[in-house]
């Protein structure tokens, strides 16, 4: 009994598929519209995922800038570097001398000439301290900062993490944005599929009427339309997947170049399997629901006479 039931469903689903395949152009167009609608939130989701992956790297890389007092000599500074480097909660210490700081500033700011006009170097020497990754959580870093502030050589100790936090807050907002967009476009997909199914029902008006006339149940008549909606949703999801992956591949080169400017080996990766699975399940489900609503509204209107 169950076997027969499964077999029936398989037959109907394949018949619906066959119907779609026999009209490749219109099927492709409808699926493409669905695909485009779905690729937008998917693409943004993937982009956000990448941003978060990068910023995840930054989390551990929260660095502490220790500005030395103006009167600390280079030799004393070097000793301090060595002392600090042996501390268990510090991974690396980098010394940036006043001259090096000035040079870097000159290069990055473009204020070269203005700096030349100054007769003394206004910039302090600086230690860039990176906590070990186990000690990079906010509490430990805060403690480390307190310790560093006790040093007699220290003028100002600053944690360069503010912008990382801001970045997190921004991605959080963007994530909600993607969610809202996905909901809206999901609704659009429902409408597209609902409308397509409505037209399909109109086209097959005679068939539906005659089927009812000879004793087809509503479930029987509904089934092929539900499968049609399902297939549209699935095709749309696949198209969305392909489009997003294609965009990733076309962008990857330029992103790689950009990353290399920042001495990063970062590169884009294709959509991960979890997302692909979620996308395809979601799109098929949207197709099913869209056709369900449409069929429910339009099928009962067809009664034989």
């Amino acid at each position: 009994m169950l076997k027969i039931w499964v077999l029936r469903h398989l037959q109907v689903s394949l018949a619906s598929l066959g119907r779609l395949v026999r009209l490749p152009l219109s099927t492709l167009m409808t699926s493409a519209v669905i695909g485009i609608a779905l690729s937008l939130p998917t693409g943004m989701h993937v982009a956000l995922g990448h941003l978060q992956a990068i910023s995840g790297g930054w989390d551990g890389a929260a660095t502490i800038s220790l500005f030395l007092k103006q009167d600390v000599q280079a030799k004393a500074a070097k000793q301090l570097v060595q002392k600090l480097a042996t501390k268990p909660n510090i991974a690396t210490v980098e010394f940036i001398s006043r001259e090096a700081a000035l040079e870097e500033f000159r290069q990055l700011s473009g204020f070269g000439e203005a700096l030349d006009a100054l007769n003394s170097n206004p910039l302090p020497a600086l230690l860039v301290i990176k906590p070990t990754s186990e000690q990079s959580d906010p509490i430990s870093t805060q403690q480390l900062i307190k310790e560093l502030e006790q040093l007699s050589e220290a003028d100002l100790v600053q944690l360069d993490m503010q912008w990382v936090r801001r970045f997190h807050a921004l991605t959080e907002i963007a994530q909600r944005g993607v969610f809202v967009l996905a909901s809206l476009l999901g609704l659009a997909v429902l409408l597209i599929i609902g409308n397509t199914i409505r037209l399909e029902i109109q086209n097959r008006h005679a068939e539906i009427e005659i089927s009812k006339l000879i004793g087809a149940t509503n479930a029987f008549i509904r089934r092929p339309f539900l499968y049609t909606g399902f297939w549209y949703g699935l095709f749309g999801g696949i198209i969305a997947c392909l489009m997003v992956n294609l965009s990733i591949l076309t962008l990857d080169d330029s992103v790689g170049q950009l990353a290399s400017l920042y001495h990063s080996s970062f590169s884009l990766s294709l959509i991960d399997t979890t997302t692909v699975f979620a996308l395809l399940t979601g799109s098929s489900l949207l197709g099913l629901i869209g056709s369900w609503i449409s069929v429910g509204r339009h099928l009962s209107a067809i009664e034989p006479s």
Binding site: I4, R8, A206, E207, E209, I210, S211, K212, L213, I214, G215, A216, T217, N218, F220, E303, P304, S305
Partner: protein, 224 residues
């Protein structure tokens, strides 16, 4: 098999299709339904196939009280009533075979059994060679026979026919009547609505006559 008890049908808009019709048809009877155009013949058949519901009175078909039958059970009722239409109601984008198979497919019959039954029905109406043809390529008489095959393929105990010979020449009409008689001989109850007085007077069967929605005569002879 069919029992009408004071049945009236008023269409939306107030037009009366049938008024106070009562009659009884026993199993394995073959009955003609006649009357002028607009007398209510089609209406009466529609009440039996539950294409319309009676406004008043009781319709009982095969022991089933249609007045109380919920909508969701209508399909199962229709499976037990074979219906033949004047305009054939065939699907033009399907083959003859698929058209005839439809009632069986709808009731969930297995593939093999469907093939067997459809060929048996095609054989009965003499269209075995047209199995793969499209209905539009067939003549009117052939299309009518496809419609008949579809109505009987699931072996319903009751068959209704609305003007089954309306568009056919006398020879073909004769042929179709012979076909109906052969169904009747194996125990199928038949109710056939027709204008064709000449044809039915030759058949010597029970005749129900409608006049403006009322049953004006019930008997072996045609009287109007």
């Amino acid at each position: 098999m069919i029992n009408f008890d004071n049945v009236s049908k008023r269409y939306p808009g107030g037009h009366d299709g049938l008024t106070n019709v009562s009659f009884r048809i026993e199993p394995a009877e073959m009955v003609f339904l006649t009357g002028h155009s607009g007398a209510g013949k089609s209406t009466l058949l529609k009440l039996i196939g539950l294409l319309e519901r009676a406004t008043r009175g009781q319709v009982v078909v095969g022991g089933r009280n249609l007045t109380q039958l919920p909508n969701r059970k209508i399909p199962y009722h229709r499976r037990e009533v074979g219906m033949i239409f004047q305009d054939y109601r065939l699907l033009h984008d399907r083959t003859v075979f698929d058209n005839i198979a439809l009632p069986l497919v709808v009731s969930g019959m297995g593939h093999k059994e469907v093939g067997r039954r459809v060929r048996a029905a095609l054989d009965k109406v003499g269209l075995l060679s047209k199995e793969k043809a499209s209905p539009i390529t067939l003549s009117g008489g052939e299309q009518q026979r496809v419609g008949i095959a579809r109505a009987v393929v699931s072996k319903p105990p009751l068959v209704l026919a609305d003007e089954p010979t309306g568009n056919l020449d006398p020879a073909l009409s004769e042929e179709i009547m012979t076909l109906f008689e052969s169904f009747n001989q194996v125990g199928v109850t038949l109710l056939i609505a027709t204008h064709d007085i000449e044809l039915i007077s030759r058949m010597n069967k029970r005749i129900l006559t409608l006049d403006q929605g009322q049953l004006s005569h019930d008997g072996l002879k045609q009287v109007w």
